[in-house]
Amino acid sequence: MRAFTQLDGLVAPLDRANVDTDAIIPKQFLKSIKRSGFGPNAFDEWRYLDRGEPGMDNSRRPANPDFVLNQARYQGASILLTRDNFGCGSSREHAPWALEDYGFRALVGTSFADIFYNNSFKNGLLPIKLPPAEIDALFAQVAATPGYRLKIDLAAQIVTRPDGKVLGFDVDPFRKECLLNGWDDIGLTLRHADEIKAFEAKRRIEQPWLFA
């Protein structure tokens, strides 16, 4: 996994609540057996005017001029500003894969759905939760300021606005450590293989029907 330490990135706003993972990456693209290449189909149904299918040349498809991420000022954005319950619905990890492949490294919003939040950390994508009033202020500032950027420092757990205001955020220490170091959590878990084996052996004796 790619490590995340600091980021100074252009911010794109997606001003709607309950953005679900079907919207982030529609089902027809889930037929892929790869982890990469989902970026051109991120938000496919909002982003293009035609119906997207796997294997299409996305550069030739008609873009929806009304979709915010298609605006010139947000090209190259690496931070997505979101609203409540972002990433709800399906557990598809293709959603963070698509966002990461699109170029996003961090998401800043009021709340994220549990499975999506978890999946993001596994892919070097940092979801940051801030209070609603701060998110409202960020939406207003982004709208008013072309080229609006935020600085994110994971080690210090702070987001710094262009006007110098510093916003602190919470993150689980374990997740933070993994993300800062780009650690593969399977490797970490396997360091405890003996404990897992001992647990399993005990369970096998106590509830043998689970091991039939």
Binding site: L30, S91, A113, I115, D185, T189, L190
Partner: protein, 471 residues
């Protein structure tokens, strides 16, 4: 100290805990399907790792499989490759059970697991699918997981997880005739919202939940995720134990007795404390219909479509405006005046035998409205299909002009050929009414199986409580 069921399920699976509370949770059952597993198997192979415990794996192909013309195989080459990749991975790795495409026991993973007794009380169950919460109906701690976690569980038999807060949703009293498990869970989501359960493990309790069959409890737990909760569950009682007796992977003989004695402990202790409690009076629940693009956008069938000005919060108001536009609905339209183009009866929410019986009871002796283009009835598994045919339900559906299909996820998420066309409106027994969920531009209204059948016959939503039955 009295413990909640969640405390018991959690504690009995913790292998170790990190300083910040992140735990390694031992996983008893790993359900696998073709969409979210290929990258996990590939990752395992690249890292040179082996699956930890093959006998924990139960696999089936469901999302991509067609629901008709099985003799033609899977015609979409991309879908076919994904299903064949699962075949190859299971062939290489092994599993306790694999129900491939066309197998007599193939079906939706969340239907197949329980009906084969592969889901047992007290288990931790995972699957790369958010509707894994379904298995909570058996007092399991059942988590939907992402593909990285599928790989993690394959390699380590554990899931990294922090303990959630606990919520009790207590539905007391008795539901009226024509009100089903689907209506109960939609009413719950309408009450607490799609993010109401975020960060919580939900226990569903109360007399109205106790009165449900296992099929009904699975419907309720299935949609816990639509309330934001990754896990939802119901305590063990006689209904649970009666359901499990004699299933393929259920224990037998002395092991059965030992298992039952243990299962009986899988209830919240009297006086156990929850972080949140939601109480709902079952008698107030009417048949539900969603009108918008989030499951929380739901009203009773005798209600009407709301207007943006009904909502004070500006973000919510904007969401309602957008949903009305997408759904092509005018505020204040009575729900019963909304006409449908297609009807879908199926999905891991409502494709079990009891669901099909409820739909058939409404469809019996009737014919679908001419204005309804297509009614799909998709059983949840080959075993459900067999049972339904043995009961003659298929003949009722076909006589009514409904299409009786092969099992699979089908138009719940439209990964196969079953989908809505842009602008088409559907009464669906599935779980998500998101934009484009059932096909680009499609408009989904979530309802119970009986309500879906009634809409198919009337051509529009209609209150199933007043719907005349042909005996």
């Amino acid at each position: 100290m009295p413990q909640t069921l969640y405390d018991k399920l959690w504690q009995s699976h913790v292998v170790r805990t990190e300083a910040d509370g992140t735990a390694l949770l031992y996983i008893d059952r790993h359900l696998v399907h073709e969409v979210t597993s290929p990258q996990a198997f590939e990752g395992l192979k690249i890292a040179g790792r082996k699956p930890w415990r093959i006998s924990s794996i139960v696999a089936t192909a469901d999302h991509n499989t067609p629901t008709d013309h099985w003799e033609r195989g899977i015609e979409d080459p991309v879908s076919r490759q994904q299903v064949e990749t699962l075949d190859a991975n299971i062939r290489e790795v092994g599993a306790l059970a694999y129900f491939p495409f066309k197998d007599a026991r193939q079906g939706i993973v969340h239907v197949v697991g329980p009906e084969n007794g592969a889901t047992l009380p007290g288990m931790t169950v995972v699957c790369g699918d958010s509707h894994t919460s379904t298995h909570g109906a058996f007092a399991c701690l059942a988590h939907g997981i992402g593909t990285s976690e599928v790989e993690h569980v394959l390699a380590t038999q554990c899931l990294l997880q922090k303990k959630m807060k606990s919520m009790l949703v207590r539905v007391d009293g008795k539901v009226g005739a024509g009100v089903t498990a689907k209506d109960i869970v939609l009413a719950i989501i309408g009450r607490i919202g799609t993010a109401g359960g975020t960060g919580y493990a939900i226990e569903f309790g109360g007399a109205a939940i106790r009165a449900l069959s296992m099929e009904g409890r699975m419907t309720v737990c299935n949609m816990a995720i639509e309330a934001g909760a990754r896990v939802g569950f119901v305590a063990v009682d006689d209904t649970t134990i009666d359901y499990l007796k004699g299933r393929s992977f259920s224990p037998t003989g002395e092991a059965w007795d030992r298992a039952v004695a243990h299962w009986r402990t899988l209830v919240s202790d009297a006086g156990a404390k929850f972080d949140a409690v939601v109480e709902i009076d079952a008698a107030t629940i009417r048949p539900q219909v969603t009108w918008g693009t989030s499951p929380e956008m739901v009203v009773p069938v005798d209600g009407s479509v709301p207007a943006p000005e009904d909502f004070a919060d500006p973000v919510k108001r904007e969401g309602v405006t957008r949903a009305l536009q997408y759904m092509g609905l005018t505020p204040r339209t009575p729900i019963s005046e909304i006409a449908v183009d297609q009807v879908f009866i199926g999905s891991c929410t409502n494709s079990r035998i009891e669901d099909l019986r409820e739909a058939a009871a409404v469809a019996k002796g009737r014919t679908k409205a001419v204005s309804v283009r297509r009614v799909l009835v998709v059983p949840g598994s080959g075993l459900v299909k067999q049972q339904a045919e043995a009961e003659g339900l298929d003949r009722i559906f076909v006589s009514a002009g409904f299409e009786w299909r092969e099992p699979g996820c089908s138009m719940c998420l439209a990964m196969n050929a079953d989908r809505l066309e842009p602008g088409e409106r559907c009464a669906s027994t599935s779980n998500r009414n998101f934009e484009g969920r059932q096909g680009n531009g499609g408009r989904t209204h979530l309802v119970s199986p009986a309500m879906a059948a009634a809409a198919a016959i009337s051509g529009h939503f209609t209150d199933v409580r007043k719907f005349p039955r042909v005996s």
